[in-house]
Protein backbone atom coordinates (compact mmCIF):
# COMPACT_ATOMS: atom_id res chain seq x y z
CA UNK A 1 0.00 0.00 0.00
CA UNK A 2 1.20 3.53 -0.76
CA UNK A 3 -0.26 7.00 -0.52
CA UNK A 4 -0.70 8.88 -3.77
CA UNK A 5 -1.93 12.36 -4.63
CA UNK A 6 -4.98 12.76 -6.83
CA UNK A 7 -6.37 15.93 -8.37
CA UNK A 8 -10.08 15.59 -9.02
CA UNK A 9 -12.09 18.28 -10.79
CA UNK A 10 -15.07 19.34 -8.71
CA UNK A 11 -17.81 21.69 -9.77
CA UNK A 12 -20.72 22.11 -12.13
CA UNK A 13 -21.76 24.15 -15.17
CA UNK A 14 -21.29 27.38 -13.19
CA UNK A 15 -17.64 26.66 -12.51
CA UNK A 16 -15.32 24.55 -10.46
CA UNK A 17 -11.73 23.71 -9.68
CA UNK A 18 -9.39 20.89 -8.82
CA UNK A 19 -9.43 19.40 -5.35
CA UNK A 20 -6.40 17.48 -4.10
CA UNK A 21 -6.69 14.23 -2.18
CA UNK A 22 -3.98 12.06 -0.67
CA UNK A 23 -5.30 8.53 -0.88
CA UNK A 24 -4.01 5.12 0.09
CA UNK A 25 -3.69 2.87 -2.94
CA UNK A 26 -3.44 -0.92 -2.83
CA UNK A 27 -1.76 -3.12 -5.39
CA UNK A 28 -4.06 -4.11 -8.24
CA UNK A 29 -6.53 -1.29 -7.74
CA UNK A 30 -8.06 0.77 -10.51
CA UNK A 31 -8.87 4.49 -10.64
CA UNK A 32 -12.50 3.83 -9.78
CA UNK A 33 -11.42 2.12 -6.52
CA UNK A 34 -9.52 5.27 -5.62
CA UNK A 35 -12.50 7.49 -6.44
CA UNK A 36 -14.69 5.31 -4.23
CA UNK A 37 -12.14 5.60 -1.43
CA UNK A 38 -12.18 9.39 -1.79
CA UNK A 39 -15.99 9.25 -1.55
CA UNK A 40 -15.88 6.97 1.47
CA UNK A 41 -13.19 8.78 3.45
CA UNK A 42 -12.86 12.39 2.32
CA UNK A 43 -15.58 13.70 0.02
CA UNK A 44 -18.87 11.85 0.41
CA UNK A 45 -20.60 14.27 -1.95
CA UNK A 46 -18.22 13.59 -4.85
CA UNK A 47 -20.41 12.77 -7.86
CA UNK A 48 -19.34 9.88 -10.07
CA UNK A 49 -21.32 7.66 -12.39
CA UNK A 50 -20.48 3.98 -12.35
CA UNK A 51 -22.18 0.63 -12.50
CA UNK A 52 -20.59 -2.69 -13.44
CA UNK A 53 -16.94 -2.05 -12.51
CA UNK A 54 -16.02 -4.57 -15.18
CA UNK A 55 -15.64 -2.50 -18.34
CA UNK A 56 -18.97 -3.60 -19.72
CA UNK A 57 -21.52 -0.92 -18.87
CA UNK A 58 -19.64 2.13 -20.17
CA UNK A 59 -20.74 4.31 -17.26
CA UNK A 60 -17.48 5.41 -15.62
CA UNK A 61 -15.95 7.25 -18.57
CA UNK A 62 -13.69 10.12 -17.53
CA UNK A 63 -10.33 11.63 -18.41
CA UNK A 64 -7.30 10.47 -16.49
CA UNK A 65 -4.19 12.60 -16.97
CA UNK A 66 -5.90 14.09 -19.99
CA UNK A 67 -6.65 10.79 -21.71
CA UNK A 68 -10.23 9.54 -22.08
CA UNK A 69 -10.55 6.24 -20.22
CA UNK A 70 -12.91 3.96 -18.32
CA UNK A 71 -12.01 4.50 -14.67
CA UNK A 72 -12.79 0.89 -13.85
CA UNK A 73 -10.32 -0.38 -16.44
CA UNK A 74 -7.45 1.98 -15.63
CA UNK A 75 -5.09 0.18 -13.33
CA UNK A 76 -2.99 2.18 -10.91
CA UNK A 77 0.21 0.46 -11.99
CA UNK A 78 0.00 2.50 -15.20
CA UNK A 79 1.27 5.43 -13.18
CA UNK A 80 4.64 5.93 -11.57
CA UNK A 81 4.89 5.81 -7.79
CA UNK A 82 5.33 9.57 -7.32
CA UNK A 83 3.12 10.64 -10.22
CA UNK A 84 0.20 12.91 -9.50
CA UNK A 85 -2.98 11.63 -11.15
CA UNK A 86 -5.52 14.10 -12.52
CA UNK A 87 -9.12 13.03 -13.01
CA UNK A 88 -11.65 15.18 -14.86
CA UNK A 89 -15.09 14.65 -16.35
CA UNK A 90 -15.40 14.12 -20.10
CA UNK A 91 -14.60 17.48 -21.68
CA UNK A 92 -16.84 17.28 -24.74
CA UNK A 93 -20.18 17.12 -22.95
CA UNK A 94 -21.91 19.50 -20.50
CA UNK A 95 -20.91 18.80 -16.94
CA UNK A 96 -23.65 17.93 -14.46
CA UNK A 97 -21.49 17.79 -11.36
CA UNK A 98 -17.94 16.71 -10.56
CA UNK A 99 -17.17 13.68 -12.73
CA UNK A 100 -20.68 13.30 -14.13
CA UNK A 101 -21.50 14.70 -17.55
CA UNK A 102 -24.69 14.94 -19.57
CA UNK A 103 -24.17 12.60 -22.52
CA UNK A 104 -27.64 13.06 -24.00
CA UNK A 105 -26.05 14.39 -27.23
CA UNK A 106 -25.24 10.78 -28.07
CA UNK A 107 -28.77 9.54 -27.41
CA UNK A 108 -30.25 12.33 -29.51
CA UNK A 109 -27.98 11.33 -32.39
CA UNK A 110 -28.93 7.68 -31.89
CA UNK A 111 -32.62 8.54 -32.10
CA UNK A 112 -32.04 10.20 -35.47
CA UNK A 113 -30.57 6.98 -36.83
CA UNK A 114 -33.04 4.88 -38.88
CA UNK A 115 -33.48 1.48 -37.23
CA UNK A 116 -32.72 -1.94 -38.71
CA UNK A 117 -35.20 -2.65 -41.52
CA UNK A 118 -35.63 -6.30 -42.51
CA UNK A 119 -36.86 -7.14 -46.03
CA UNK A 120 -40.62 -6.96 -46.51
CA UNK A 121 -42.38 -10.21 -45.71
CA UNK A 122 -39.62 -11.58 -43.51
CA UNK A 123 -40.91 -12.08 -39.98
CA UNK A 124 -38.87 -12.22 -36.78
CA UNK A 125 -37.71 -15.80 -36.35
CA UNK A 126 -37.28 -16.23 -40.08
CA UNK A 127 -33.98 -14.38 -40.31
CA UNK A 128 -31.24 -16.59 -41.72
CA UNK A 129 -27.71 -15.32 -42.18
CA UNK A 130 -24.37 -16.98 -42.74
CA UNK A 131 -21.75 -16.40 -40.08
CA UNK A 132 -19.29 -15.02 -42.63
CA UNK A 133 -21.85 -12.35 -43.57
CA UNK A 134 -22.47 -11.10 -40.04
CA UNK A 135 -18.93 -11.18 -38.70
CA UNK A 136 -18.15 -7.62 -39.71
CA UNK A 137 -21.29 -6.29 -38.05
CA UNK A 138 -20.64 -8.31 -34.92
CA UNK A 139 -17.44 -6.42 -34.21
CA UNK A 140 -19.49 -3.23 -33.90
CA UNK A 141 -21.97 -4.91 -31.55
CA UNK A 142 -19.21 -5.02 -28.93
CA UNK A 143 -19.76 -1.29 -28.39
CA UNK A 144 -20.63 -0.58 -24.73
CA UNK A 145 -21.62 3.04 -25.39
CA UNK A 146 -19.06 4.52 -23.06
CA UNK A 147 -18.85 7.45 -25.53
CA UNK A 148 -15.10 7.78 -25.14
CA UNK A 149 -14.88 7.87 -28.94
CA UNK A 150 -17.46 10.63 -29.10
CA UNK A 151 -15.63 12.50 -26.37
CA UNK A 152 -12.20 12.34 -27.97
CA UNK A 153 -13.32 13.15 -31.51
CA UNK A 154 -11.92 16.62 -32.20
CA UNK A 155 -14.75 17.42 -34.64
CA UNK A 156 -17.05 18.09 -31.70
CA UNK A 157 -14.56 18.24 -28.84
CA UNK A 158 -12.88 21.32 -30.28
CA UNK A 159 -15.79 22.69 -32.31
CA UNK A 160 -19.08 22.94 -30.45
CA UNK A 161 -20.71 24.31 -33.60
CA UNK A 162 -20.22 20.95 -35.30
CA UNK A 163 -22.50 19.11 -32.89
CA UNK A 164 -25.69 19.60 -34.95
CA UNK A 165 -24.31 18.23 -38.27
CA UNK A 166 -21.99 15.57 -36.84
CA UNK A 167 -23.14 12.31 -35.27
CA UNK A 168 -19.73 10.95 -34.29
CA UNK A 169 -17.86 7.66 -34.44
CA UNK A 170 -20.26 5.71 -32.23
CA UNK A 171 -23.03 6.37 -34.73
CA UNK A 172 -20.76 5.75 -37.71
CA UNK A 173 -20.16 2.21 -36.53
CA UNK A 174 -23.92 1.81 -36.21
CA UNK A 175 -24.35 3.07 -39.78
CA UNK A 176 -21.63 0.68 -41.00
CA UNK A 177 -23.14 -2.18 -39.02
CA UNK A 178 -26.48 -1.70 -40.74
CA UNK A 179 -25.07 -0.98 -44.20
CA UNK A 180 -23.06 -4.21 -43.98
CA UNK A 181 -25.94 -6.16 -42.43
CA UNK A 182 -27.02 -8.94 -44.81
CA UNK A 183 -30.70 -8.46 -44.00
CA UNK A 184 -30.98 -4.68 -43.78
CA UNK A 185 -33.18 -3.56 -46.65
CA UNK A 186 -32.76 0.21 -46.45
CA UNK A 187 -31.02 1.70 -49.45
CA UNK A 188 -30.18 5.09 -47.97
CA UNK A 189 -27.65 4.25 -45.27
CA UNK A 190 -24.75 5.84 -47.13
CA UNK A 191 -26.72 8.92 -48.07
CA UNK A 192 -27.76 9.30 -44.44
CA UNK A 193 -24.20 8.80 -43.22
CA UNK A 194 -22.84 11.48 -45.52
CA UNK A 195 -25.69 14.02 -45.44
CA UNK A 196 -27.33 13.56 -42.05
CA UNK A 197 -24.52 12.19 -39.88
CA UNK A 198 -21.66 14.28 -41.27
CA UNK A 199 -19.32 11.45 -42.25
CA UNK A 200 -17.33 13.92 -44.36
CA UNK A 201 -16.28 15.82 -41.24
CA UNK A 202 -14.18 12.90 -40.10
CA UNK A 203 -10.53 13.29 -41.10
CA UNK A 204 -9.68 9.78 -39.94
CA UNK A 205 -7.10 10.73 -37.34
CA UNK A 206 -8.09 7.56 -35.45
CA UNK A 207 -8.44 8.94 -31.93
CA UNK A 208 -11.76 7.11 -31.63
CA UNK A 209 -9.99 3.83 -32.31
CA UNK A 210 -7.19 4.67 -29.88
CA UNK A 211 -9.52 5.20 -26.92
CA UNK A 212 -12.05 2.41 -27.57
CA UNK A 213 -11.95 0.09 -24.53
CA UNK A 214 -13.49 -2.70 -26.62
CA UNK A 215 -10.73 -2.35 -29.21
CA UNK A 216 -13.21 -1.92 -32.03
CA UNK A 217 -11.31 -0.81 -35.12
CA UNK A 218 -13.71 2.06 -35.62
CA UNK A 219 -11.76 3.90 -38.29
CA UNK A 220 -10.42 1.01 -40.37
CA UNK A 221 -13.46 -1.24 -40.22
CA UNK A 222 -16.36 1.21 -40.08
CA UNK A 223 -15.56 4.80 -41.00
CA UNK A 224 -13.18 4.19 -43.91
CA UNK A 225 -15.35 1.45 -45.44
CA UNK A 226 -18.33 3.83 -45.20
CA UNK A 227 -16.27 6.62 -46.79
CA UNK A 228 -15.31 4.23 -49.58
CA UNK A 229 -18.94 3.24 -50.09
CA UNK A 230 -19.96 6.89 -50.24
CA UNK A 231 -17.10 7.56 -52.68
CA UNK A 232 -18.41 4.73 -54.83
CA UNK A 233 -21.91 6.20 -54.84
CA UNK A 234 -21.00 9.85 -55.31
CA UNK A 235 -17.52 10.36 -56.63
CA UNK A 236 -16.71 7.36 -58.81
CA UNK A 237 -17.60 7.96 -62.48
CA UNK A 238 -16.71 4.36 -63.35
CA UNK A 239 -19.32 3.06 -60.91
CA UNK A 240 -21.83 5.57 -62.30
CA UNK A 241 -21.06 4.50 -65.86
CA UNK A 242 -21.30 0.83 -64.95
CA UNK A 243 -24.72 1.40 -63.45
CA UNK A 244 -25.89 3.24 -66.55
CA UNK A 245 -24.61 0.53 -68.88
CA UNK A 246 -25.89 -2.40 -66.88
CA UNK A 247 -29.05 -0.53 -65.83
CA UNK A 248 -28.48 -1.14 -62.16
CA UNK A 249 -30.47 0.68 -59.53
CA UNK A 250 -29.70 4.06 -58.09
CA UNK A 251 -27.39 2.55 -55.52
CA UNK A 252 -25.92 -0.90 -55.05
CA UNK A 253 -27.05 -1.03 -51.41
CA UNK A 254 -30.58 -2.06 -52.14
CA UNK A 255 -31.58 -5.37 -50.62
CA UNK A 256 -31.55 -7.36 -53.83
CA UNK A 257 -28.92 -5.38 -55.66
CA UNK A 258 -26.58 -7.33 -57.97
CA UNK A 259 -23.72 -5.55 -56.21
CA UNK A 260 -24.36 -7.42 -53.01
Amino acid sequence: MSTRTFRVWRGDADGGDFAEFDVAVNEGEVILDVVHRIQAEQAPDLAVRWNCKAGKCGSCSAEVNGTPRLMCMTRMNLFDEGEQVTITPLRTFPVVRDLVTDVSFNYEKAREMPAFAPPAGLEPGEYRMKQVDVERSQEFRKCIECFLCQNTCHVVRDHEENKPPFAGPRLFIRAAELDMHPLDARDDRREAAQDDQGLGYCNITKCCTEVCPEHIRITDNAIIPMKERVAGDRYDPLVWLGRKIFRKGKKPTEAKSPAD
Binding site: G11, G15, G66, D133, H181, N203, K206, E228, D260
Partner: protein, 268 residues
Amino acid sequence: MTTTDEPAVSRPPRAAIKARNLRIDNWRRGPILTVLGITAWVAYATFRVFYQGDYWVADYHYLTPFYSPCVSVGCVPESAHFGRFIPDSPLIPYAALSLPFLLAFRLTCYYYRKAYYRSFWLSPPACAVPDGHTRYTGETRFPLILQNFHRYFFYLAVAISLVNSWDAVLAFHSPDGFGFGLGNVVLTANVILLWCYTLGCHSCRHVMGGRLKHFSKHPVRYRLWTLSSALNDRHMMWAWITLGSLALTDFYVMAVAAGWFDDLRFIN
Protein backbone atom coordinates in the same frame (compact mmCIF):
# COMPACT_ATOMS: atom_id res chain seq x y z
CA MET B 1 -13.99 34.30 -16.35
CA THR B 2 -15.45 32.82 -19.48
CA THR B 3 -14.69 34.43 -22.79
CA THR B 4 -15.35 33.33 -26.35
CA ASP B 5 -11.57 33.08 -26.77
CA GLU B 6 -11.52 30.08 -24.53
CA PRO B 7 -11.22 26.75 -26.32
CA ALA B 8 -14.43 24.74 -26.62
CA VAL B 9 -13.15 22.17 -24.10
CA SER B 10 -12.94 24.82 -21.39
CA ARG B 11 -16.17 26.63 -22.08
CA PRO B 12 -19.29 26.12 -19.94
CA PRO B 13 -21.57 24.24 -19.85
CA ARG B 14 -18.58 21.93 -20.16
CA ALA B 15 -16.34 21.66 -17.12
CA ALA B 16 -14.47 24.98 -16.89
CA ILE B 17 -10.96 23.55 -16.86
CA LYS B 18 -8.44 26.17 -17.93
CA ALA B 19 -5.78 23.83 -19.25
CA ARG B 20 -6.29 23.12 -22.94
CA ASN B 21 -5.13 19.60 -22.35
CA LEU B 22 -3.96 17.65 -19.34
CA ARG B 23 -1.87 15.00 -21.02
CA ILE B 24 1.48 14.52 -19.34
CA ASP B 25 2.82 11.82 -21.64
CA ASN B 26 5.08 12.75 -24.55
CA TRP B 27 2.31 13.31 -27.10
CA ARG B 28 4.47 15.64 -29.20
CA ARG B 29 6.86 12.85 -30.09
CA GLY B 30 4.64 11.26 -32.77
CA PRO B 31 3.88 14.44 -34.73
CA ILE B 32 7.49 15.64 -34.51
CA LEU B 33 8.89 12.34 -35.78
CA THR B 34 6.31 12.34 -38.58
CA VAL B 35 7.24 15.86 -39.66
CA LEU B 36 10.94 15.02 -39.59
CA GLY B 37 10.49 11.75 -41.47
CA ILE B 38 8.23 13.08 -44.19
CA THR B 39 10.21 16.31 -44.64
CA ALA B 40 13.50 14.43 -44.96
CA TRP B 41 12.00 12.05 -47.49
CA VAL B 42 10.41 14.81 -49.57
CA ALA B 43 13.70 16.76 -49.58
CA TYR B 44 15.66 13.71 -50.74
CA ALA B 45 13.06 12.73 -53.35
CA THR B 46 12.86 16.27 -54.73
CA PHE B 47 16.62 16.44 -55.07
CA ARG B 48 16.79 13.09 -56.81
CA VAL B 49 13.84 13.63 -59.13
CA PHE B 50 15.32 16.85 -60.50
CA TYR B 51 18.94 15.66 -60.42
CA GLN B 52 18.42 13.80 -63.71
CA GLY B 53 21.55 11.71 -63.43
CA ASP B 54 22.89 8.44 -61.95
CA TYR B 55 19.58 6.68 -62.30
CA TRP B 56 20.59 3.83 -64.60
CA VAL B 57 23.31 1.18 -64.31
CA ALA B 58 23.95 0.14 -67.89
CA ASP B 59 25.85 -3.09 -67.11
CA TYR B 60 23.15 -4.55 -64.90
CA HIS B 61 20.05 -2.69 -66.14
CA TYR B 62 19.29 -1.27 -62.71
CA LEU B 63 16.77 1.56 -62.97
CA THR B 64 15.84 3.52 -59.86
CA PRO B 65 12.09 3.64 -59.11
CA PHE B 66 12.27 7.46 -59.02
CA TYR B 67 12.90 7.36 -62.79
CA SER B 68 10.49 4.61 -63.76
CA PRO B 69 9.10 4.57 -66.36
CA CYS B 70 11.77 6.77 -67.88
CA VAL B 71 9.82 8.50 -70.64
CA SER B 72 11.72 11.75 -71.17
CA VAL B 73 13.64 12.45 -74.35
CA GLY B 74 16.59 12.98 -72.01
CA CYS B 75 16.52 9.36 -70.72
CA VAL B 76 19.29 6.95 -71.66
CA PRO B 77 17.66 4.99 -74.54
CA GLU B 78 18.25 1.57 -72.87
CA SER B 79 16.51 2.74 -69.69
CA ALA B 80 13.37 3.83 -71.53
CA HIS B 81 11.37 0.60 -71.66
CA PHE B 82 8.18 2.41 -72.65
CA GLY B 83 9.46 4.95 -75.17
CA ARG B 84 10.69 8.54 -74.84
CA PHE B 85 8.09 11.18 -75.57
CA ILE B 86 8.23 13.85 -72.84
CA PRO B 87 10.36 16.96 -73.48
CA ASP B 88 13.76 17.05 -71.84
CA SER B 89 13.69 19.92 -69.37
CA PRO B 90 15.34 20.46 -65.98
CA LEU B 91 11.88 21.24 -64.61
CA ILE B 92 10.21 18.07 -65.88
CA PRO B 93 11.11 14.83 -64.06
CA TYR B 94 12.12 11.98 -66.32
CA ALA B 95 9.32 9.90 -64.79
CA ALA B 96 6.72 12.65 -65.10
CA LEU B 97 4.17 10.07 -66.18
CA SER B 98 4.19 8.24 -62.85
CA LEU B 99 5.51 10.51 -60.09
CA PRO B 100 2.51 12.89 -59.83
CA PHE B 101 0.13 9.95 -59.47
CA LEU B 102 2.32 8.18 -56.93
CA LEU B 103 2.47 11.41 -54.97
CA ALA B 104 -1.32 11.75 -55.18
CA PHE B 105 -1.73 8.09 -54.13
CA ARG B 106 0.29 8.69 -50.97
CA LEU B 107 -1.24 12.11 -50.37
CA THR B 108 -4.79 10.73 -50.41
CA CYS B 109 -3.87 7.48 -48.58
CA TYR B 110 -5.90 7.06 -45.42
CA TYR B 111 -2.80 6.47 -43.33
CA TYR B 112 -0.88 9.47 -44.62
CA ARG B 113 -3.97 11.60 -44.18
CA LYS B 114 -3.96 10.72 -40.51
CA ALA B 115 -0.21 11.39 -40.34
CA TYR B 116 -0.19 14.81 -41.95
CA TYR B 117 -3.49 16.02 -40.53
CA ARG B 118 -2.04 15.35 -37.11
CA SER B 119 1.53 16.45 -37.58
CA PHE B 120 1.50 19.21 -40.20
CA TRP B 121 -2.04 20.52 -39.82
CA LEU B 122 -2.44 19.93 -36.07
CA SER B 123 -5.97 18.79 -36.59
CA PRO B 124 -5.61 17.47 -33.94
CA PRO B 125 -1.91 17.06 -33.06
CA ALA B 126 -2.80 14.24 -30.68
CA CYS B 127 -5.90 12.71 -29.13
CA ALA B 128 -7.59 14.96 -26.56
CA VAL B 129 -5.23 17.79 -27.47
CA PRO B 130 -7.13 20.75 -29.00
CA ASP B 131 -6.61 21.27 -32.70
CA GLY B 132 -5.10 24.50 -33.91
CA HIS B 133 -8.07 25.86 -35.83
CA THR B 134 -11.01 28.10 -35.07
CA ARG B 135 -13.23 26.45 -37.68
CA TYR B 136 -13.30 22.92 -38.93
CA THR B 137 -15.21 21.38 -41.84
CA GLY B 138 -13.14 18.24 -42.35
CA GLU B 139 -13.34 16.66 -45.78
CA THR B 140 -16.72 18.10 -46.67
CA ARG B 141 -15.47 20.88 -48.96
CA PHE B 142 -13.00 21.64 -51.72
CA PRO B 143 -10.10 20.89 -51.76
CA LEU B 144 -10.21 18.11 -49.15
CA ILE B 145 -13.32 16.59 -50.69
CA LEU B 146 -10.95 15.46 -53.46
CA GLN B 147 -9.58 12.90 -50.99
CA ASN B 148 -12.49 10.79 -52.21
CA PHE B 149 -10.59 10.17 -55.45
CA HIS B 150 -8.11 7.98 -53.61
CA ARG B 151 -9.26 4.85 -55.40
CA TYR B 152 -8.32 6.29 -58.79
CA PHE B 153 -4.80 6.88 -57.64
CA PHE B 154 -4.87 3.34 -56.29
CA TYR B 155 -5.68 2.01 -59.76
CA LEU B 156 -2.81 4.03 -61.22
CA ALA B 157 -0.50 2.91 -58.42
CA VAL B 158 -1.23 -0.71 -59.35
CA ALA B 159 -0.21 0.04 -62.95
CA ILE B 160 2.98 1.77 -61.77
CA SER B 161 3.78 -1.12 -59.41
CA LEU B 162 3.53 -3.43 -62.44
CA VAL B 163 6.04 -1.22 -64.23
CA ASN B 164 8.37 -1.34 -61.20
CA SER B 165 8.01 -5.11 -61.13
CA TRP B 166 8.93 -5.30 -64.81
CA ASP B 167 12.00 -3.13 -64.12
CA ALA B 168 13.02 -5.53 -61.36
CA VAL B 169 12.70 -8.50 -63.74
CA LEU B 170 14.73 -6.78 -66.47
CA ALA B 171 17.43 -6.05 -63.91
CA PHE B 172 18.47 -9.72 -63.74
CA HIS B 173 21.06 -8.88 -66.33
CA SER B 174 24.78 -8.64 -66.88
CA PRO B 175 26.99 -7.99 -69.90
CA ASP B 176 27.12 -11.81 -70.28
CA GLY B 177 23.34 -12.24 -70.25
CA PHE B 178 21.66 -13.32 -67.04
CA GLY B 179 23.05 -11.78 -63.90
CA PHE B 180 22.25 -11.55 -60.23
CA GLY B 181 23.66 -9.15 -57.68
CA LEU B 182 22.90 -7.30 -54.51
CA GLY B 183 21.12 -4.66 -56.60
CA ASN B 184 18.60 -7.30 -57.66
CA VAL B 185 17.89 -8.12 -54.03
CA VAL B 186 17.35 -4.42 -53.30
CA LEU B 187 15.13 -3.82 -56.35
CA THR B 188 13.09 -7.00 -55.83
CA ALA B 189 12.61 -6.39 -52.11
CA ASN B 190 11.48 -2.86 -52.86
CA VAL B 191 8.90 -4.10 -55.36
CA ILE B 192 7.56 -6.72 -52.94
CA LEU B 193 7.22 -4.07 -50.24
CA LEU B 194 5.49 -1.72 -52.67
CA TRP B 195 2.95 -4.44 -53.43
CA CYS B 196 2.38 -4.99 -49.71
CA TYR B 197 1.61 -1.28 -49.33
CA THR B 198 -0.49 -1.00 -52.49
CA LEU B 199 -2.57 -4.15 -51.99
CA GLY B 200 -3.18 -3.32 -48.35
CA CYS B 201 -4.63 0.07 -49.28
CA HIS B 202 -8.12 0.76 -47.91
CA SER B 203 -9.44 1.37 -51.42
CA CYS B 204 -8.05 -1.99 -52.55
CA ARG B 205 -9.75 -3.61 -49.58
CA HIS B 206 -13.02 -2.01 -50.64
CA VAL B 207 -12.65 -2.99 -54.29
CA MET B 208 -11.63 -6.57 -53.49
CA GLY B 209 -14.73 -7.26 -51.45
CA GLY B 210 -15.30 -4.65 -48.79
CA ARG B 211 -18.22 -3.20 -50.73
CA LEU B 212 -20.10 -6.51 -50.64
CA LYS B 213 -22.97 -7.22 -48.30
CA HIS B 214 -22.87 -10.99 -48.69
CA PHE B 215 -19.42 -12.52 -48.53
CA SER B 216 -21.00 -15.97 -48.67
CA LYS B 217 -22.12 -15.37 -52.25
CA HIS B 218 -18.65 -14.32 -53.37
CA PRO B 219 -16.10 -16.71 -51.80
CA VAL B 220 -13.23 -15.67 -54.08
CA ARG B 221 -13.72 -11.98 -53.42
CA TYR B 222 -14.10 -12.73 -49.71
CA ARG B 223 -10.74 -14.48 -49.80
CA LEU B 224 -9.17 -11.53 -51.61
CA TRP B 225 -10.71 -9.18 -49.04
CA THR B 226 -9.25 -11.18 -46.16
CA LEU B 227 -5.80 -11.09 -47.79
CA SER B 228 -6.04 -7.36 -48.39
CA SER B 229 -7.31 -6.90 -44.84
CA ALA B 230 -4.31 -8.79 -43.46
CA LEU B 231 -1.98 -6.37 -45.24
CA ASN B 232 -4.20 -3.45 -44.28
CA ASP B 233 -3.76 -4.30 -40.58
CA ARG B 234 -0.21 -2.93 -40.89
CA HIS B 235 -0.82 -0.26 -43.47
CA MET B 236 1.09 2.33 -41.46
CA MET B 237 4.08 0.02 -41.23
CA TRP B 238 4.08 -0.63 -44.99
CA ALA B 239 3.67 3.10 -45.63
CA TRP B 240 6.85 3.92 -43.71
CA ILE B 241 8.83 0.88 -44.84
CA THR B 242 8.16 1.69 -48.49
CA LEU B 243 9.24 5.29 -48.02
CA GLY B 244 12.50 3.92 -46.68
CA SER B 245 12.85 1.20 -49.29
CA LEU B 246 12.21 3.63 -52.15
CA ALA B 247 14.89 6.00 -50.89
CA LEU B 248 17.30 3.14 -50.16
CA THR B 249 16.78 1.56 -53.58
CA ASP B 250 17.28 4.89 -55.30
CA PHE B 251 20.41 5.58 -53.27
CA TYR B 252 21.86 2.14 -54.06
CA VAL B 253 21.30 2.57 -57.80
CA MET B 254 22.68 6.11 -57.66
CA ALA B 255 25.77 4.95 -55.78
CA VAL B 256 26.47 2.10 -58.21
CA ALA B 257 25.74 4.31 -61.25
CA ALA B 258 28.03 7.05 -59.91
CA GLY B 259 30.79 4.53 -59.20
CA TRP B 260 30.86 5.16 -55.44
CA PHE B 261 31.00 1.39 -54.97
CA ASP B 262 30.58 -1.71 -57.11
CA ASP B 263 27.54 -3.89 -57.08
CA LEU B 264 28.11 -7.12 -55.15
CA ARG B 265 27.60 -9.80 -57.81
CA PHE B 266 26.47 -13.34 -56.97
CA ILE B 267 26.10 -14.59 -60.56
CA ASN B 268 27.79 -12.87 -63.52
